[in-house]
């Protein structure tokens, strides 16, 4: 994909025509800028020569001219409101003509053509650009993508969040980090994906029906992190980011360097983060600091434009504190905590220290990717990777045992993948591939506690094939996938005498998709997707047993669980009458047969009436949660619209609606995202201000607003407390770029929860105990050369 993109870059973006007359300082660059998705010309685009700071702006037809240029290498910086800025190296020897396509970053669905994620052309996607990632270097992966429509966050306090797409998360949403399915502990809400988003250049959320190529078990959506190919630039380029966040007094530093040479191209990326206690609108959230140290290395090499090699290694290490007041114990203590105005153990001291309860996580990854082009139309890809995930969770324990983890899991995962792509003359494309994943998961017995998840080995083998093409005005794609999974489990019995019980399960899953996209006119398109997929129960759903940290509930797996089958249909309509206005509507419906969810276990009382089971233990009474299977429907729609006025104002509005129902028991599904509205208005100063030898460009100010509705689709008694009321958060952003001959400095500042609103979020597990985050001011500096 990356390599196709390079070709595209070479052939389409830089369509260079040479002119014969050449003199030393008498050359010109003429060009035209257009929107990549709509092919409409873009006016008011800033084009700047970094070396001389000479610049111009495109006219109403997208044309520009830079003349009286000297020969030699120059870097052009092209920027436009709502677009990701672009930097192009030109070795100017003659007069040059350029055609520059610009991608509107916020309008993901429109710009997919020919992009890195070209195989998702038919599915609804939204993506985040490198600039967005850099500007949010203080955020986790989850927080970064939570403003995308259809995306929500399952949180456990401020540091731990995992993405929810169209109501699904965990086992059901795959995260693909640099071609590799991110391994880790999918179970539980208290586990965030172990990824440094700053190592990625682009993050894409595919809200489709069944992303056939990305492994078994994903029932629709995929979060894709991709790195750009290292550009063929002989100069050393790099950047460093520093961000300070007032809430938590957090410091974030990131450094990234890359260079191309004829031997190999390399890129390194390193990130350090340190946060102390965060603060709600009125009080400190004690023990919520975190520390993170991440590093990654990319090596790329190609042989005669035929064989491409990509080596990637990364390490992610974190230590996270969990709100002290959230570890309470039994149902009596929980009830006290639920009614408390301020969480237990809250004091007015700010600390960077992290004590129990806490988590310590290490994730290491190594990947080798080889891609060979037989010719322009045929290529094979071979992928090999290994991952190691070590998770330790610490609770407050007696007799100095708080330093001994309560849970200590080590997971090894090995992936291999083989893929063949064939393009036919009529632009039809055929793909076939095979993926294999081996997982080995072990518990350290030194915890002194029976493991929540048993030891297991797991083998997954999948075979998939897709065909895409075009008939008249309709693009289509069909795909099929077959998977087998073998689970071998060694569990320690819950009853006495303790003994080892072994289980072996074999599953066969199939999935298929069909997609069609009609380009109704040049300004509107309609896409219809249908996908069927099967997911076998995971180890946690079958065998978990024990008390879950901070949830005050006993969790029990169910041995009799069967496969979960899902059918999802989506309809997407995009209308883009001009490059100044567009509207995107996505409607979806997903029905599940055998939907697995964790709900309160019920039993008959003396009168034969079903009531929630409360189990008596020495530590008091605990509610029992059990994995159960039911039939469910999840449906909703995401609608987004963006507009620009006179190339100075840029507006965006998104609304998401979702409803989840357990159709068998005729009750709502618990922990489904609330509906939300997001709006932002950005103003850009088009005039550039010269300062000394530098030039200020793309100075922007943005105000945004996020309104989360109260989750009303839930019955009393389905949860410990009713969902929190709706809330409304305002944010303010300001950024400017100072361009100097050899480097670029970007300043940005951001105010989150501007009015220090007191609120709790339905999908934050800590809402039982504490208010969510108060005002936070972020100041950042980005230095690029």
């Amino acid at each position: 994909m990356l390599y196709n993109n390079l070709k595209l870059f070479l052939f389409v973006c830089l369509f260079i025509v040479f002119n014969l007359q050449a003199q030393n300082c008498n050359n010109y660059i003429k060009g035209r800028v257009f929107d990549k998705g709509t092919s409409l010309p873009l006016s008011f685009v800033n084009i700047l020569i970094q070396e001389s700071l000479k610049g111009t702006t495109s006219d109403k037809d997208g044309f520009f001219i830079l003349d009286n240029l000297c020969q030699g290498e120059i870097h052009l910086i092209i920027s436009h409101i709502g677009c990701d800025p672009k930097k192009i190296l030109i070795d100017l020897k003659k007069d040059t003509l350029l055609r520059i396509p610009m991608s509107h970053t916020l309008l993901g669905a429109i710009v997919v053509e020919g992009e890195q994620s070209s195989n998702n052309y038919f599915q609804s996607i939204s993506s985040l650009s490198r600039t967005t990632i850099e500007n949010n270097s203080n955020k986790t992966l989850g927080e970064l993508i939570q403003n995308e429509s259809g995306v929500n966050l399952m949180k456990n306090g401020s540091g731990i969040s995992k993405p929810i797409v169209h109501g699904l998360y965990g086992n059901r949403v795959k995260i693909i980090n640099n071609d590799i399915i991110q391994s880790g502990q999918y179970w539980g809400n208290g586990h965030a994906p172990e990824i440094d988003p700053l190592s990625a250049d682009k993050i894409t959320i595919i809200k489709g029906v069944s992303a056939i190529e990305y492994g078994a078990g994903n029932l629709g959506s995929v979060v894709l992190l991709e790195q750009q190919k290292i550009e063929k630039e002989p100069h050393l380029h790099g950047q460093t980011n520093y961000t300070y966040e007032s809430n938590g007094r957090g410091n974030n530093v990131n450094l990234r360097l890359e260079k191309y040479s004829k031997y190999f191209a390399w890129r390194i990326n390193g990130t350090l983060k340190k946060y102390g206690d965060k603060k709600s609108s009125t009080y400190f959230l004690n023990n919520t600091g975190y520390q993170e140290a991440n590093f990654s290395l990319t090596l790329q090499k190609s042989w005669k434009e035929k064989l491409f090699m990509d080596i990637y290694t990364s390490t992610f290490n974190t230590r996270l504190g969990i709100l002290r007041g959230s570890q309470v114990g039994n149902i009596t203590a929980l009830n006290i905590a639920l009614n408390a105005e301020i969480p237990d153990k809250t004091d007015s001291l700010f600390r960077y220290d992290i004590d129990a309860p806490k988590q310590e996580i290490n994730h290491h990854l190594a990947k080798l990717k080889l891609k060979y082009f037989f010719n322009e139309n045929n290529s094979i890809t071979f992928l090999l990777s290994g991952q190691l995930n070590h998770r330790k969770e610490f609770d407050v324990r007696r007799a100095g045992r708080s330093d001994i983890p309560s849970l200590d899991l080590l997971q090894h995962t090995y992936n291999s993948e083989f893929k063949y792509t064939h393009s036919f003359k009529n632009l039809w494309k055929f793909k076939i591939g095979n993926q294999n994943i081996i997982t080995n998961n072990t518990n350290d017995p030194n915890t002194g506690i029976l493991p929540l998840i048993p030891d297991y080995n797991n083998w997954k083998n999948g075979l998939f094939s897709t065909l895409s093409g075009k008939i008249n005005k309709a693009n289509f794609k069909i795909g099929f996938r077959y998977d087998t999974e073998l689970q071998k489990v060694a569990e320690i019995s819950n009853d006495l005498p303790r003994r080892i019980i072994r289980y072996e399960n074999n599953f066969h899953n199939i999935s298929g998709l069909s997609s069609v996209k009609f380009n109704l006119t040049s300004k509107q398109s309609l896409a219809i997707n249908s996908g069927y997929s099967e997911r076998n129960p995971g180890i946690n759903e079958l065998y978990s047993f024990g008390l879950h940290q901070g949830v005050s509930g006993l969790e029990e797996g169910t041995l009799s669980l069967k496969k979960e089958k899902a059918l999802k249909n989506t309809l997407e309509y995009i209308w883009y009458p001009s490059s100044n206005f567009s509207i995107n509507t996505l409607i979806y419906h997903q029905s599940f047969n055998g939907f697995i969810n964790l709900i309160p276990k019920q039993k008959e009382n003396i009168d034969g009436v079903l009531v929630n089971e409360i189990r008596t233990t020495l530590r008091g009474a605990f509610p029992v949660f059990m994995y159960q299977q039911t039939n469910a429907n999840i449906y909703g729609f995401d609608i987004s619209s963006q507009f620009s006025i006179r190339n100075s104002f840029f507006g965006l509005i998104k609304y998401s609606f979702l409803s989840g129902q357990d159709v068998k028991n005729k009750i709502p599904l618990i922990y489904m995202p609330s509906n939300s509205i997001f709006g932002s208005l950005k103003y850009q100063i088009n005039k550039s201000n010269i300062l000394n030898k530098g030039k200020f460009e793309n100075t922007e100010i943005e105000i945004n607003n996020r309104f989360i509705f109260e989750q009303k689709n839930i019955l009393i008694g389905q949860d410990f407390v009713s969902p929190p009321p709706s809330y409304n958060l305002f944010g303010l952003k300001f950024s400017t770029n100072l361009i100097l001959p050899n480097y670029k400095i970007r300043f940005f500042t951001e105010f989150n929860n501007l009015f220090n609103v007191k609120y709790r979020d339905y999908l934050n597990r800590q809402r039982y105990f504490a208010n969510d985050l108060g005002l936070s001011v972020i100041i950042g500096l980005n230095f690029k050369f």
């Binding site: 203590a333 007799a399 591939g433 095979n434 017995p445 006495l496 008596t616 233990t617 008091g620 605990f622």
Partner: protein, 185 residues
């Protein structure tokens, strides 16, 4: 031609990977659950009649799962004072019973027992290093005749000093058990 070959190749790849050796997980080591409390014995001795001894016990040998716990209440004489002694045990392995009471005693400033009932009253007879009550040694006043329920709670890391209620103490619940008591005339 090439397409066919590759198709065959990928299917062979699939079959060969799916047929490689699949070992069972290595037998896990059963953790030594030394922290588990399986048994609480609250022994009450009449302050003026050492033959009047009542022991309230809560036993749950297999921990959170498996079988239900056994709870044994008792009957006390009305308006009599009893000296109470608390004992906590880990009896998971009958051959190696561990005394958890010692752990609580060592960390007495981080622990406190709380007692609540309708007419029975319990007073602390011991203090920790900071002169705050612990509750391993108590003095119980049986009160008037009637049926009562005595709830005993052990809190880890409570706020000390507190007003004697669980709600005021915060912290984390290590033990919470209730005993049926019959106070007789």
């Amino acid at each position: 031609m090439k397409l066919k070959k590759l198709l065959i190749l990928s299917i062979i790849g699939f079959i060969s990977f799916s047929s490689c050796k699949k070992d069972d997980p290595v037998t896990p080591v059963i953790p030594n659950e030394e922290e588990l409390i399986t048994t609480l014995n609250y022994t009450l001795t009449n302050a003026f009649d050492s033959t009047d001894v009542v022991t309230l016990t809560f036993v749950d040998l297999d921990g959170d799962g498996g079988n239900e716990p056994t709870i044994t209440g008792g009957s006390l004489n009305a308006n009599k004072t009893y000296n109470g002694t608390m004992e906590l045990l880990d009896e998971t392995d009958p051959a190696d019973v561990e005394d958890i009471t010692e752990e609580v005693l060592e960390e007495d400033e981080d622990h406190q027992f709380f007692f609540s009932a309708a007419s029975i009253t319990v007073n602390y007879s011991d203090v920790d290093t900071n002169n705050n009550p612990v509750g391993l040694q108590t003095s119980l006043d049986a009160g008037d005749a009637g049926l009562d329920t005595l709830k005993i709670t052990l809190i880890h890391e409570p706020t000390k000093p507190n007003n004697g209620t669980v709600a005021d103490a915060g912290g984390e619940v290590d033990i919470e058990v209730s005993f049926p008591i019959n106070v007789v005339q």
